[in-house]
């Protein structure tokens, strides 16, 4: 059907997976291997090279070796997160990180082994791999599943809900042709990753997309869930990465590979002064610079030429521009220390506990909607193997729920509202051929500037306070209105308008969360200058639900049980008021 130049396609499947990244691919593989259910993966790019794994990864950062247990992993993650963590979620994924690693090896991933055939580990929770082709390997296994269909280059924008709020599908469009999609499904899994590009980046000029987190993971899943009324958790626990300056390449490979400590400009090792958790490492770097003792470096000068050659190769497998930078400048890490810096803040549930509030089976608070990977909250430090494990857990829950519903005789798609096609009307409006003096890029830069200046970006050394946050909220709201007036000449431009819309929604939610946690629990990630210290009254999850254009904030008690379901919940009194 073609209306106003926009062709409409309607598709149906048992399961719709939004985002064919790490978690999404593995969920599809799990369902494909274990059932005959039809699965559609809707991916905005191409699953062979999309999301976090596009360039390759350096190591598998979550693997239990030397007799360590899931409980050990939980304690490590709890310490790093200063207790804001869900025991049930972390334990359930930690229980699976080793089996998914073995599966990756069967799929062809090269993992370093010793003479006895054991994986060579870096510390007790990290295995060394050649991770350059990890995404093509996953995509290949997806293509082996008979009942899994992949829709590449389809960007999903909105969830489809029935009258009672149940999620029964989604809407999206092709980023290449003027085709819009309505997809109906009995279960929908959000696996679209976290959100980058909310804040002004380290390199705001020509290299504006040289950021750590994929600039194409724009928080779409969060935004759709928020607008549909799903409960979100701990967005205020932002993630900032410690990176090689300019190239934003990982530092762990150098720090752990050649044991290079963090030093300031006078060569003093400062890392021990501030502590060794992820935020403390960045905090130390920021503090040294603030006190005039920067720039800061990883002390690599003096490593052997052989070690340097290994670093060149390791970086080519995950962040090639770092090797290019070394070679181009004529000075490798054996001659010159590597300068380091913190990135702009991101929201990502793979590193901190931000994302959808889910039960142990990864069900969100909306019926029919599930979340896994960086999109799901409550379980920080999940990394590649944790994202795979969550994809698997969500897939198992979906299969179980579909089975239960069938036994109970629920007629699924009938309850799905029929004529609810407002997203298509919006696509047409944006594509109506009109012009508007403000470009999408300008609006995006405006958003990043607001967040940078008033919501704790690089400019303020990640610090924020109430007055600034309120101003940020006001300005982000006005950008939301501006966003409606933008115009696109094709669906590639439409994609950028929708990415901006998603980011603005995530910014608003993030600001509401930053306002609600009136303490400083994590340096850098949540540096609230009105409340500079931790406060035990905030030993709780700060959650939010979006209703009628406003965020309702709630505080939930910490979960220490091995299982959590949405029915047994208790909300702490009094509610968090801003």
């Amino acid at each position: 059907m073609t209306e106003n130049g926009l062709t409409i396609k309607r598709l149906t499947a048992d399961v719709l997976i939004i985002g064919g990244g790490t978690a999404g691919c593995y969920a599809a593989i799990t369902i494909g291997r274990r059932s005959g259910r039809s699965v559609l993966i809707a991916e905005k790019a191409d699953i062979r090279r999309s999301g976090c794994l596009a360039a390759g990864v350096n190591a598998l950062n979550a693997y239990l070796s030397d007799g360590h247990t899931p409980e050990d992993y939980l304690e490590y993650a709890r310490k790093d997160a200063e207790s804001i963590i869900r025991d049930d979620l972390v334990l359930s994924l930690a229980e699976r990180v080793n089996t998914v690693t073995e599966d990756l090896e069967r799929l062809g991933l090269v993992i370093l082994k010793d003479q006895e055939g054991n994986y060579v580990t870096r510390g007790w929770r990290n295995v060394k791999i050649n991770g350059e082709n990890i995404k093509p390997l996953l995509a290949q296994e997806v293509s082996r599943q008979e009942h899994v269909t992949v829709l590449n280059h389809i960007n999903i924008t909105d969830l489809k809900q029935s009258g009672d709020g149940r999620v029964c599908g989604a809407y999206g469009f092709s980023v290449r042709e003027k085709i819009a999609y309505e997809i109906r499904a009995s279960a929908v899994l959000i696996a679209s990753g976290g959100a980058s590009g909310l804040y002004r980046p380290n390199n705001p000029g020509f290299s504006r997309h040289k950021m750590w987190y994929p600039p194409f993971n724009t928080g779409g899943g969060y935004a759709m869930g928020i607008r549909a009324g799903a409960e979100m958790t701990t967005l205020e626990n932002r993630f900032v990465a410690l990176r090689c300056k300019d190239t934003i390449a990982p530092t762990g490979t150098i720090a752990q590979g050649v044991h290079a400590p963090q030093i300031n400009a006078s060569g003093e090792v400062y890392e021990k002064k501030y502590g060794l958790t992820t935020p403390q490492r960045i905090y130390g770097t920021v503090e040294e610079c603030r006190k005039g003792r920067g720039p800061c470096y990883l002390a690599t000068a003096g490593i052997s030429r052989k070690a340097e050659d290994e670093l060149f190769k390791a970086y080519l497998n995950m962040a090639p521009m770092q090797t290019l930078k070394w070679l181009e400048s004529g000075k490798g890490p054996s001659e010159e220390n590597v300068e380091i810096d913190g990135t702009e803040p991101y929201v990502t549930g793979g590193h901190t506990a931000s994302g959808f509030w889910v039960d142990t089976g990864r069900r969100t608070t909306l019926k029919g909607l599930y979340a896994a990977g960086d999109a799901a909250g409550g379980a920080p430090q999940k990394y590649v193997t944790g994202a795979l494990a969550e994809g698997q857990i969500a897939a198992e829950t979906i299969l179980q729920d579909l089975q239960t519903e069938e036994t109970e005789g629920r007629k699924d798609t009938n309850s799905c509202a029929k004529n609810e096609t407002s997203p298509f009307r919006q696509y047409r409006e944006y594509l109506d051929g009109g012009s508007f003096p403000v470009s999408c890029t300008q609006a995006e830069e405006a958003m990043q500037k607001i967040m940078d200046e008033y919501a704790g970006g690089i400019r303020t050394d990640y610090r924020y306070h109430r007055a600034g946050l309120l101003l940020a909220d006001q300005r982000i709201r006005s950008l939301e209105n501006l966003c409606k007036r933008l115009r696109a000449s094709d669906t590639f431009e439409l994609l950028h308008i929708y990415e901006l819309r998603e980011r603005l929604t995530v910014c608003r939610a993030l600001i509401a969360h930053l306002l609600a946690r009136r303490e400083t629990r994590w340096h850098i990630f949540g540096e609230n200058t009105d409340y500079a210290n931790p406060d035990s009254r905030f030993d709780c999850y700060v959650n939010s639900v979006y209703r009628n254009g406003e965020f309702q904030m709630l505080c939930r008690p910490l979960v220490h049980d091995k299982g959590y379901s949405h029915t047994q919940e208790k909300i702490l009194q009094p509610e968090v008021k801003e």
């Binding site: 993992i111 350059e132 000029g205 020509f206 950021m211 090797t323």
Partner: protein, 104 residues
């Protein structure tokens, strides 16, 4: 940082356009690959790894220290040959075999 597509080497197969995680590449009216917004490149090198003719190279923007050198890649079986064309005309090749894990 961004990519540069050598129009003479490009055979218009479209593989890079499929691979880009940002859908940034398209085939222009002469059937050659073109990046629509160079500033939007993430530098992931997915397009370069797909290209059968090594037509695509990566460069660092001047804002992050680039001086005009370019990095390209040629895949030969499991071996990737990364070729650095330095701005001063010299060349350096580093071969990485995907059968070997990183030592770090």
């Amino acid at each position: 940082m961004s990519i540069h597509i050598n129009q003479k080497k490009c055979v218009g197969c479209g593989r890079c356009a499929d691979a880009c995680p940002g859908s940034l590449i398209w085939l222009n009216s002469s059937g050659k690959a073109e990046i629509r917004i160079p500033e939007d490149c993430w530098g992931c090198t997915s397009c370069m790894k797909e290209c059968p003719t090594a037509a695509i190279s990566l460069f660092l923007g001047a804002d992050i220290g680039g001086q005009g050198s370019e990095l390209s890649i040629r895949r030969e079986g499991t071996v990737s040959r990364w070729i650095m064309h330095r701005f001063d005309g010299t060349e350096k090749v580093i071969s990485v075999d995907s059968r070997n894990a990183n030592s770090y």
